[in-house]
Amino acid sequence: MSTEYSIRRILVVPAALQAELNAAATTLDPTGGDATFTVGLSSTGLAPATHYVCNAALRLATWEFVEQVLAPQYEAAQIFDGNEQTIDQVLTGLGLRFVGSEE
């Protein structure tokens, strides 16, 4: 049996939208959606984060809701096909690095 979670998408959003998008994510994930965007990014890898990232495997119905309902409301959010690109490729293309992993 193949998984229903076959659509992988990487979402990169401006830090200014973090709270709003975490709230929006609770529409799809009532129990934990408010922590969907917590991994920070910046051009230097140092705080403060200028963007946040989410890398998730989605069911078709979930993806359709994101694509058709949520995405049009947040044009500043960038969505990448995680089945085609790795997170490293996405971040390199955007000139961003993970924040806070250094000692």
């Binding site: 193949s2 979670y5 129990t31 890398n55 998730a56 992993s101 250094e102």
Partner: protein, 281 residues
């Protein structure tokens, strides 16, 4: 160290030749050894769930893993409440046996705090694979720490030199021991062991071979294993309320004992893991 295609490989140690119980099919269970605190077994599909409530079992390759039942003490289940941060079920990742995969972006599972469980030391045995070796730095497949005063009873990190290092902190002083030198990119699966004896030493092993021993005589063990220890994460590390250092990796099995295993015991567990997952010593 040389590496074969099936994992982290060193010269075959004399003490890891197949023993009678293994040749006969084993029958050994990690629970036979006293002090088993945590046992996560990705090859036991009945322990994997899509949700943190552990109500919806995984059914397919690629399903999310939001709950992983602890078969050891039954206390320290690994959980993730946020759907987008759940790990992925890989039921035949290790020579046909199961693993749980983390994406290196935001996936992680949280284990209930183990504060106070390690007053007599600890032993970790991990069957795992890291997809991002050198030159990646400060990625954490597994760890627990507090930021200030910097303390941790385990902090497995990828170093700037391309090694997986167990770093134990005590009041901002670090005690480090390399577990394995990683190749560029995918490491392959291996069995990694770390045994810590308070007031004495911390020793690490890769596929049964000793990779080194570090004195921890100077560490104040009570601070490391005490009540201030942070929540352990798998696939990342806790940094206060945040999760950082997400590592692209797979865990097939994770065993934690609340004491340093003796040499024969450690070999027994390592042999069990190597045989189970079809890995070479």
């Amino acid at each position: 160290m040389q590496r074969r295609r099936d994992g982290w490989i060193g010269p075959p140690p004399h003490d890891l030749r197949p023993m009678g119980w293994l040749a006969a099919g084993g029958g050994f269970s990690p629970a036979q050894l006293a002090g088993l605190v945590l046992w996560l077994d990705a090859d036991d599909a009945a322990t994997l769930f899509q949700d943190a409530a552990r109500s919806t079992p995984v059914a397919s390759d690629g399903d999310p893993v939001g709950g992983w039942t602890d078969k050891g003490s039954g206390t320290y289940h690994a959980l993730q409440a946020t759907a987008a941060k759940r790990a992925t079920n890989r039921p035949s990742a290790v020579n046909g046996r199961g693993a749980v995969e983390f994406d290196g972006t935001d996936d992680f599972l949280t284990v209930t705090r183990m504060a106070g469980r390690f007053g007599s030391g600890f032993s970790f045995v991990m069957v795992m694979r890291i997809f991002e070796g050198q030159p990646v730095d400060f990625k954490r497949p597994f760890g627990s720490r507090v930021v200030s005063p910097r303390q941790a009873y385990f902090d497995f990190l990828l170093s700037s030199t391309g090694s997986l290092v167990q770093v134990m902190w005590a009041d901002h002083v670090s005690y480090q021991q390399t577990m394995v030198s990683l190749p560029a990119g995918d490491s392959g699966h291996g069995v990694l062991t770390c045994v810590a004896t308070p007031g004495a030493a911390m020793s690490c092993y890769a596929n049964g071979s000793l990779t080194g021993t570090t004195s921890i005589a100077g560490a104040t063990w009570g601070n490391i294993a005490g009540a201030t220890s942070e929540t352990p994460l798998i696939g990342a590390i806790a940094n206060g309320a945040s999760d950082i250092g997400h590592c692209a990796c797979q865990f097939a099995e994770l065993l934690i004992y609340n004491r340093p295993l003796g040499s024969a015991e450690r070999q027994q567990v390592e042999q069990y893991a190597l045989a189970k997952f079809g890995l070479s010593p």
